[in-house]
């Protein structure tokens, strides 16, 4: 096992364990914190996959802004483990079984996928660097870029219309 593999397994284990903790913590605040840990692990993966820019964006957007907002809302509602009523036991079990079977099916199907032996590392890539992405974004992706601003506008309208107290 070389260092990359060790790192991969470490980050993977971290991501999966934290993700499980997100689902199973009783306290919403803990869930948020675990989720932030997932994002860190995923950012680590990004770096290993030569997507440095995305790693940073992931931290800024998800861990830095979105999760803070979640935490903020949870604080706002003064939520803790007691306040959440538990779901019907059977429904919980059914949900877990359904999710588990989906996982099984997808793994069973994709384990023989056509790309299974392709490697994802070796040569060093430059595509994930910010100047490369920036160039592509501002030449080839102008249309989606500008259109996404429309999305922001509608989100803004939504925040104001729904969030504002009448």
């Amino acid at each position: 096992m070389n260092i990359t593999e060790i790192l991969f397994w470490f980050l993977t284990a971290l991501a999966i364990l934290s993700a499980l903790m997100v689902v199973f913590s009783r306290n919403p605040v803990h869930s948020v914190l675990w989720l932030i840990l997932v994002f860190f692990a995923i950012s680590g993966h990004y770096i290993m996959l030569n997507a440095q820019f995305l790693a940073i964006v992931n931290l800024i957007v998800y861990a830095g802004a979105i999760m803070v907002l979640f935490l903020f809302v949870i604080m706002l509602m003064n939520m803790n483990s007691d306040s959440e009523p538990q779901k019907n036991k059977w429904l919980k079990m059914a949900g877990t079984v359904a999710g588990g079977s989906l996982l099984l099916i997808l793994v069973a199907a994709l384990k023989n996928s056509e790309v299974q032996y392709q490697k994802v590392e070796g040569a060093q890539g430059t595509i994930g660097l910010i100047h490369n992405l920036g160039k592509t974004l501002f030449t080839d992706y102008v249309v989606p870029f500008e259109i996404s601003s429309v999305l922001f506008l509608s989100a803004m309208v939504g925040a104001v219309v729904i969030g504002k107290k009448d």
Binding site: T4, T12, A15, I16, A19, V22, V23, V32, L35, V38, I42, H45, Y46, L49, N50, A51, F53, L54, V57, N58, V61, Y62, I66, F70, V73, M79, E84, P85, Q86, K87, L91, K92, G95, T96, A98, G99, L102, L103, L106, V107, L110, V115, Q116, Y117, Q118, K119, V120, E121, G125, I127, G128, L137, Y141, S148, F152, A155, G158, A159, I162, G163
Partner: protein, 111 residues
């Protein structure tokens, strides 16, 4: 590292997200689990991006293949942020009205 490992990692995270959506009742947690699903997709896309890059780079080291997937991930993050804004606004609106974020609460009111 074969791509398969990344596929399985992504699918696992994705399914954990689904299980979360199915088993929790707190709207905020459900929403967080959906974010988890989106992140699973992101990591899969980035892994595929690298994979296609490597496949193309043997022929042409200066290739730009794979950057489209990274930009896609970028857009997913951006759109997710917009979605979070609206989603949290809706959750808070409901909280203001019934002081609960239990997704079955309203249902109980009905019956």
């Amino acid at each position: 590292m074969p791509i398969n490992y990344y596929i399985f990692l992504a699918i696992t995270l994705f399914c954990i997200g689904i299980v979360g959506v199915l088993t929790r009742r707190n709207a905020i947690i459900i929403f967080m689990c959906i974010e988890l699903m989106l992140n699973a997709v992101n990591i899969l896309l980035v892994a595929f991006s690298k994979m296609h890059y490597l496949a193309a780079a043997t022929a042409n080291p200066a290739t730009n293949v794979g950057s489209e997937a990274q930009l896609f991930v970028f857009f997913i993050m951006v759109v997710a942020a917009a979605e979070v804004t609206v989603g949290l606004a809706i959750i808070v609106m409901m909280y203001r009205n019934i002081h609960s974020v239990d997704i079955n609460f309203l249902n109980r009111l009905k019956h």
